[in-house]
């Protein structure tokens, strides 16, 4: 804590104690990134994309493995969650779950990225470095127990993502997507930061624990400043997770950015954004839930309906999935709105299952989009079932999953969210969410019709020649298996998310 700071008599500097094992997952990713950068700038040998992919996967797996002893420790009744560096970074089931989710998405995305970068003839380790650093930012966000740390985590995550979106220098769309993403992302950061400043003024600290304790102990005579700060923070988060009415960047960015990194945005960045949002809203400002719940309620309804309605009228696959991802953000907001442990668990379940489905979907799209990666029109999947049956089956599983058809993980995710929100007796929201699911189903049916029920008039040579590289088929297999397995047997993940309840720990 900061109390004693200005009166430290001695000149010796006492640095706070650090639990290195607690920080290990983040450290492994960051160190791997820096090490890679160093190696590549020092050695003249060309490192192939495949080697880089393997390196990144190994780093991410290392990070994933490092979370396991932590998870066991945190679940241990006698030890429980803890925080380190004077309470700056909390290690609880929640942050560890999000960490695992992020590392898994890094593994899957780096496999896709390897193939993509090779086909686009982009060399160099930078995209992998940025991917790793971005995930580090996500981990920091998930565990941040201080608004400043949270803000820095968001910036690490997003600034890397801006670069990744603009990565493909050959295509102007990519840079324009990057530009748009950057401008609006920075705009959102501005809101978030100003909100943090106001909250700092209202509560006297940027530390989440202190804020929560302050709000619990103190009856504010005038909470205007606090509410203004809260509103600005919600706006900032809403931008980051692409919730209506702050969603308009998403379709453009999704369409223009390189497909593997779009998969990363839709899975990992969304997960990190919701993790931060849940920790701030549910845990820190749980006392003020009566004030923020209606706002989230409204945003959720608008996001659900607008996302699924606008998705229907699109003709580009990536834009369709962008709008559908907006609509999925609506579901996550529904879970957030519940403001209960069950709601948090549901959101985590949703995030985890959605990550696999969306990465899988974008993997299919990036395979199917031709050599230049530009053929993402809806018609590009026409007759996919005839050309590449396995690819079509995998895509179908992902689409049905996103539509929420039973025996896919997507159904159980929706079910869980609705269950959580009904337990809080928001029946209206539950009904709207299910209506949005029906509207959304139309979108997925449109794609399915093209895949299965439409015969291609002219089979182009290129179209026939889809070769599925090993890494991508690995990603597709994993995603399909997870989607189906969790659809039939969701119990393991349910148990896990129910233990991943966020807590705030002082140092």
């Amino acid at each position: 804590m900061i109390q004693n700071m200005s009166f430290i008599a001695s000149n010796s500097l006492q640095t706070p104690s650090v639990s290195w094992s607690g920080l290990l997952p983040a450290i492994i990713l960051a160190a791997a990134a820096i090490l890679l950068l160093t190696i590549c700038s020092l050695t003249p040998i060309k490192i192939t994309n495949q080697q880089l992919t393997i390196y990144t996967c190994v780093a991410a797996v290392g990070s994933l493995v490092a979370t396991i002893p932590l998870w066991l420790r945190v679940q241990d009744e006698s030890r429980g969650p803890f925080s380190t560096i004077s309470g700056a970074f909390g290690i609880d089931g929640f942050s560890l779950f999000v960490t695992m989710l992020l590392t898994v998405s890094v593994i899957l995305v780096s496999c896709l990225a390897g193939v993509f970068l090779k086909s686009e003839d982009i060399e160099g380790p930078e995209s992998y470095v940025l991917l790793l650093l971005s995930a580090t930012g996500g981990i920091i966000m998930a565990g941040a127990n201080d608004f400043i740390i949270l803000f820095l985590g968001i910036e690490v995550l997003s600034i890397s993502a801006y670069v990744l979106a603009a990565m493909n220098l050959k295509r102007i769309q990519s840079q324009e997507a990057g530009l748009k993403y950057f401008v609006l992302g920075a705009f959102a950061s501005g809101f978030l930061l100003y909100g943090i400043a106001l909250l700092y003024g209202a509560t006297g600290s940027t530390e989440l624990t202190a804020i929560r304790n302050f709000l619990v102990d103190t009856e504010l005579t005038n909470d205007t400043l606090l509410l203004a700060g809260l509103a600005l923070i919600i706006v900032g988060f809403a931008f980051k997770v692409a919730a209506v009415p702050f969603h308009f960047w998403a379709p453009d960015v999704y369409q223009g950015a390189p497909t593997p990194f779009v998969a990363y945005m839709a899975s990992a960045i969304k997960a990190a954004g919701f993790a931060a949002m849940l920790r701030v809203l549910y845990v820190t400002f749980g006392q003020y839930r009566a004030d923020w719940q209606p706002v989230i309620y409204g945003i959720a309804i608008a996001t659900l309906l607008l996302g699924s309605l606008l998705a229907i009228v699109q003709t580009d696959l990536k834009r369709m999935l962008a709008y559908s991802s907006i609509s999925h953000a609506g579901y996550l907001l529904v879970g957030t709105q519940a403001a209960s442990d069950q709601g948090v668990a549901a959101v985590l379940f949703y995030l985890a299952t959605y990550a696999f489905m969306v990465i899988g979907s974008f993997a299919v799209i990036s395979l199917n989009s031709g050599p230049a990666g530009t053929e993402t029109d809806l018609n590009s999947v026409t007759g996919l079932a005839n050309r590449k049956p396995m690819l079509a089956i995998a895509f179908t599983v992902f689409l049905l999953g996103q539509a929420g058809i039973p025996l896919t993980s997507g159904f159980f995710a929706k079910f869980y969210v609705i269950e959580a929100v009904i337990e809080e007796e928001s029946f209206g929201l539950a009904i709207v969410a299910m209506l949005a699911a029906v509207i959304g189903a139309f979108l997925y049916l449109r794609i399915l019709v093209k895949i299965w029920l439409t015969n291609q008039e002219t089979v182009s040579e290129e179209g026939k020649m889809i070769v599925i590289p090993k890494q991508v088929s690995f990603v597709l297999t994993i995603a399909t298996i997870v989607t189906l397995f969790l659809g039939v047997w969701p119990e393991p993940l349910v148990e896990m998310v129910q233990r991943a309840v966020p807590v705030l720990m002082a140092s």
């Binding site: 337990e423 119990e491 349910v494």
Partner: protein
């Protein structure tokens, strides 16, 4: 993994885990077909026949092993998602028994009798998955499990209609999918609300167990009514009841013959069965409260279906609209809320499955011969294809409800039940029977009599049924006749369960019941006597097959 444990757990309880096998065997069949090479069309059909055939055989075994009491039998239980109170809980009682048997037998029949024109492998996969879904719905005693199966049937049916259908099949398939999904989306909200409210009010853990929820009505009347409407909407769409029926004609018309047969035979029953099993059982009070609404809708459906059917130019569409009328009857019987009505509804579900299934088969055969379903372009088939015409007549009469054929039994019971409860509605509904006779006979006249259109200029006349087709149609015809003449074994098995349900309803709604309990045994007895008297001269080759 989960499925294996379900198997393992089912073993010690009963000597033979009939229900898991019934549900999962077709799914394994689908996997087996999926693993065979694309080109081996014969093998695909063989595998599908074997797997659905064994399922059918087991369903017949279930029929014989079934004891005529009102309890759930062959129970199989296994935890699924423990933390949310979701389990695999399945059982069969008198109400679901015959639907299980129908599902078990209709699918192998369809697999054997009807060949797809293309994409054989995918076709057999979807057909078998569809059987798994339908079977699952009829045996589910857990609300979550029920919903999963209720919703999953959409996918195979969607592909069956969309890929093997005719004309505007994709439109029809999408419409079918979205309509039914809209209904079930709200049902999901209702299910969860029911479960959550129940656990909150009763102070128990979350449970989706149907029996537990029904036995402990903990939620308030108002919320029960609202939740009931959520369920009812899903079932009404699936039935389909009058204002939400518009998907049915499209789906039926564009679907391939197999799709139509299954749709009419089994899938429409998901809705009516849902009304009885989940609507009435879980919400007796709400069912009673809303009964006038549903009876009205049912009667409107009967009249409307009949009138619209009269005006149809497409033979298949005509049969589809006649389906709406028949299902109106079933809903009418269900919401009479007395033993005769519900029993009649249950019987009529089976009957409708047989008759309308057979009608769609025959329409499919006619279409194969003449390549048109336009009534105006058909005609005079009777001359060149007398057996086809004769079979059509029989099936059509069963559909009209001619005494001595199966349709009569159900309709009679339903009208009896409805008459006890609401006599004016019953009278109105009875006119539906007359209308049915009208439009079906008229259609018959136009299709089978008169000059044979289109056959004059070309040399070929309509070929009659082949021996193979006669053989495949035989089980349906046998069922139609047997159930028409000797429905007693069926009624005996259905009755205890229905009685139990009616008692449950009467206990809940108390004395102000509008249903006047009629001495049921007496009526049924006299009814079967009447049947036997009337038709003892009727030559019946199926009598020996009865097990009594």
């Amino acid at each position: 993994m989960g499925l294996l444990t379900i198997f393992a757990a089912a073993l010690p309880e009963t000597s033979f885990p009939a229900i898991p096998v019934l549900v999962l065997l077709p799914a394994f069949g689908a996997v087996a077909v999926a693993l065979t090479p694309n080109a081996r069309i014969g093998l695909h059909k063989l595998l599908a026949t074997v797997f659905t055939g064994i399922t059918g055989a087991i369903s017949v075994w279930v029929l014989t092993a079934f004891e005529s009491n009102g309890d759930y039998q062959f129970l199989s239980e296994q935890t699924w998602v423990d933390s949310l109170g979701i389990q695999w809980l399945a059982g069969i009682d008198g109400i679901s028994l015959f639907l299980v048997v129908l599902t078990g037998l209709l699918f192998p029949f369809v697999v054997i009798a009807i060949n797809p024109h293309h994409d054989h492998k995918a076709y057999y996969i979807w057909i078998q998955l569809l059987q798994t879904g339908c079977m699952g719905v009829f045996v589910s005693l857990d609300l979550f499990m029920f919903f999963v199966f209720f919703e999953i049937v959409l996918v195979p049916m969607y592909f069956l209609i969309g890929k093997w259908g005719h004309g505007n099949a994709r439109y029809a398939a999408t419409k079918f999918f979205l309509y039914t999904m809209l209904g079930s989306a709200l049902m999901l909200v209702s299910i969860i609300s029911l479960v959550v409210l129940h656990s909150k009010n009763a102070g128990t853990d979350l449970t989706f167990n149907l029996i537990e929820i029904a036995s402990n009505p903990a939620i308030s009347t108002t919320s029960a009514r609202i939740i009931f409407l959520g369920f009812a909407l899903a079932f009404a769409v699936k039935v389909p009841l009058f204002p939400v029926h518009t998907w049915l004609p499209d789906a039926h018309t564009e679907a391939p013959t197999a799709g139509s047969v299954i749709l009419a035979g089994v899938m429409l029953k998901l809705g009516t069965y849902g009304f009885i099993r989940f609507g009435l059982y879980l919400f007796p009070e709400a069912s009673h409260f809303f009964a006038p609404l549903f009876i009205t809708l049912g009667v409107v459906g009967i009249i409307y279906g009949a009138i619209v059917a009269t005006m149809q130019k497409d033979l298949k569409r005509l049969v589809a609209y006649s389906s709406i009328a028949h299902l109106g009857f079933i809903v009418l019987g269900t919401f009479a809320l007395n033993t005769q009505g519900i029993q009649g509804a249950t019987v009529q579900m089976i009957n409708h499955g047989l008759s309308t299934g057979a009608l769609f088969m025959l329409v499919g055969l006619i279409y194969e011969r003449r390549h048109t379903r336009q009534i105006s372009e058909l005609g005079g088939i009777q001359k060149s294809a007398p057996v086809l015409a004769g079979t059509f007549t029989l099936v059509m009469l069963s559909s009209v409800g001619l005494p001595g054929l199966n349709g009569f039994v159900g309709e009679f019971l339903i009208l009896l039940g409805a008459f006890t409860a609401h006599r004016w509605w019953a009278l109105l509904a009875a006119t539906g029977v007359i209308l049915a006779a009208l439009y079906l006979l008229w259609a018959y006249q136009r299709v089978f009599h008169g000059p044979e259109n289109g056959a004059d200029d070309q040399d070929n006349t309509t070929p009659d049924l082949t021996n193979w087709e006669r053989l495949t149609l035989f089980p349906l015809i046998a069922g139609i006749i047997f159930l028409g003449i000797y429905p007693k074994p069926m009624l005996d098995r259905i009755e205890p369960a229905v009685d139990k349900l009616v008692t449950h309803i009467e206990e809940t709604i108390g004395d102000d019941s509008f249903t006047e309990p009629v001495p049921t045994v007496q009526i049924r007895q006299s009814f079967t006597d009447l049947l036997e008297q009337t038709h003892e001269t009727h030559e019946d080759n199926t009598h020996s097959g009865g097990h009594e």
